[in-house]
Symmetry: C2
Subunit: 410 residues, 2 copies
């Protein structure tokens, strides 16, 4: 690794040719790997010809240098060419010549060579690690559910159809039902990271048709506040751990406050953004609320039950209220959760209220007929968190190979 | 949690009714959660009627007991019923009455309540954690690739078709191409855990149509032995860490030896199992080799190139040999890997040798035209490792909700 070399060492370094200067008898390579760049001085290979992004292996000795920017250079004993560039580079990996997002996504293989792009995925890797690490060490069990499912578990978002041998099947919109079965089945506290699939036709900067969901589900809760506590703790850990690892202390967050939906509606109306109690937040409402609160992260809880998923438990004191919540990070909803209904008759009633037939959900309801503890959980969009953490303008930037309305390659 | 209660404590416990004995004025509950069971003595609720697997919340005081098996019991102040069982239990969660695998998978919600079933998924959780933890702390970056792809990246296994808006797309058989782009693109060392999908029609005890793959890919290698070293190190860590956590020290492994394919062929023939050089191992060959070697884990390397994937690098000294390897655990192939070809012309040549048209793989080959380091990696089947670690007879036991030839629910 380039970053770790010290004067006096005999080294073998691998990397990309970031720059090549040919002065005839003497040649200079700026050699790059993901840890940094170093100057290589070549005096014994007069025929060496290199282009930007060729891959080479360099044997040589590290010494101090007055000319090289880093104050050290490698005096080459031998440069071996491992791979030659065969085409004109369609994206400039130094980033000097900017490219459109479409072109960059098409040539991710070059786009990823820019340190600022690589950092997005370093941050994403730390965020995913921190999520799991926190939960694992607190007795949560990682589960793996299946992406191929027989039916929708949630209304709303549309489904991608799969030809599963002779049958029609679908790609899971969420692991909702499965994580619930796992905890009701006695695993009690689980987490998972899994792709989710939504056949939504709109192409926005906030939506992907395939995304990574970080999910938690836990049994034996008193109410949704037990889940909110875990959500806040794990989210704070994810952000603060990653801020530390990435050298971005300005991203650290302290307390995450909770506001009720009713309080949020009052604040919005008071500050001139009209919203009726019972309405779901629009993007404009969310933006206005962020401008009012000016907090990096907050939880809004106790949404009207009728605008939430049918499996949301109602507040027994005020059944208009659902025991449900969202976490907003830098103004964007990044997580949703709730206490779930664990009584089969209540599930049936909620389905009927929404004009749905309980028989179509029999397979789901069945899971609660053999003794089911009160439980709840949340799902979190890893790309949404990464997007806001890195201040990106488009969620596609946070997915290596995004899938959207028109894109299935690379 | 039941396991952690101590005499003298005032406690609130949640759990399932494992057993209920009603002696009129006095009633006994064996209360169960995932950590254990405890006796609850109820003297002040003469009307309390419970059935097995009802879910209750118990407030009371822990005291020492001469009668209770654990030596302690809870004297109940109040038992609150949170959920009543509504149907006859189709699977006995105490495991006293055995059920067929099909029935158990249908009622995972009850099946999972057996400690020995739960232990399978605890082991799987530890294995997955150990895999990532090891690599993360050694500078590997976790990536997330997409499951919806435009085309096959490997021959052989069949593909599930997805209707992706107006287009046909497929479910990824492996993240092969994508992890290669990520390392060639400059992430250098990556890992991921992702579902993989194979539309294979045969229904065996070793195959799932959806499985979890643990993948690694790394750049700047000298040859496949650099990859084999990482594979051995991470696998040993996974097994030994999980053996420790699960209290199964007998599962620990020491040295993992490497044998060449040629050595394995010689051993097999010498011990009376016929195999020609150039033939792929059959299940019988694998079994015979395990009986000869009697080692829990070993790597077989240097397979004939022609029986491996087209992207396998050939040995420049002996081009009949591919720089590829398999890891066997308790006789079952659990991982496969190789050094990959990073030179586009060589990839084209390998495709033509196999009667394939390089134009069909242009999208893949393109990634190597802009400078590509030598690289390699492996994929590992998490369910296969879990199956052998827990000595299971059928790989379906290692998947919460397996997908096979006929099963898409639950």
């Amino acid at each position: 690794m380039i970053k770790s070399v010290k004067p006096g060492q005999e080294v073998t370094l691998y990397g990309y040719v970031h720059e090549f200067r040919d002065l005839g008898k003497i040649k200079f390579i700026q050699l790059r790997d993901r840890t940094g760049t170093i100057q290589v001085t070549v005096k014994n290979q007069p025929d060496l010809e290199l282009n930007r992004e060729d891959v080479v292996k360099v044997k040589g000795k590290v010494q101090e240098s007055n000319i090289a920017k880093a104050g050290i250079e490698v005096i080459s004993e031998k440069v071996e060419v491992l791979s030659k560039v065969k085409k004109k580079l369609p994206v400039d990996p130094t980033g000097v010549v900017p490219s459109e997002l479409d072109t960059r996504l098409k040539y991710r293989v070059l786009d990823l060579r820019k340190p600022e792009i690589r950092r997005i995925f370093e941050a994403k890797s730390h965020l995913a690690f921190a999520f799991r690490d926190y939960l694992y060490h607190r007795g949560f069990i990682e589960i793996h559910t299946s992406s191929i499912v027989a039916a929708a578990t949630e209304g709303g978002a549309e489904l991608f159809e799969v030809q599963y041998f002779e049958k029609k099947a679908y790609l899971a919109q969420s692991p909702q039902l499965y994580k619930q079965i796992a905890v009701v089945g006695g695993l009690e506290k689980v987490y998972l990271t899994t792709p989710i699939f939504r056949a939504e036709k709109h192409n926005t900067i906030y939506h992907l048709n395939e995304a990574i969901s970080l999910d938690v589900e836990m049994a034996f809760i008193e109410d949704h506040h037990d889940v909110i506590k875990v959500l806040k703790d794990v989210f704070k850990h994810m952000i603060n751990y990653t801020a530390e690892k990435m050298g971005m202390p300005e991203n650290k967050i302290n307390e995450i406050k909770t506001y009720t939906y009713t309080e949020a509606v009052d604040m919005l109306n008071k500050h001139g953004t009209k919203i009726e109690w019972g309405e779901d937040f629009s993007k404009e409402h969310e933006k206005a609320l962020y401008e009012i609160l000016k907090e990096d992260a907050y939880v809004i809880t106790d949404f009207p039950a009728d605008i939430r998923a049918f499996y949301t438990m109602r507040d027994p004191e005020d059944p208009r209220i659902g025991r449900s919540f969202d976490l907003f990070y830098r103004g964007l909803e990044v997580s949703s959760g709730a206490q779930r209904i664990h009584i089969p008759e209540v599930l049936e009633e909620e389905l009927r209220k929404r004009g749905l037939d309980p028989l179509d959900f029999e397979f789901y309801i069945e899971a609660f007929r053999y003794g089911a503890p009160p439980h709840g959980g949340f799902g979190m969009g890893l790309e949404r968190v990464t997007m806001k953490f890195m201040n990106l303008n488009n969620i596609r930037e946070a997915m290596l190979f995004p899938r959207d309305r028109t894109r299935v390659t690379p």
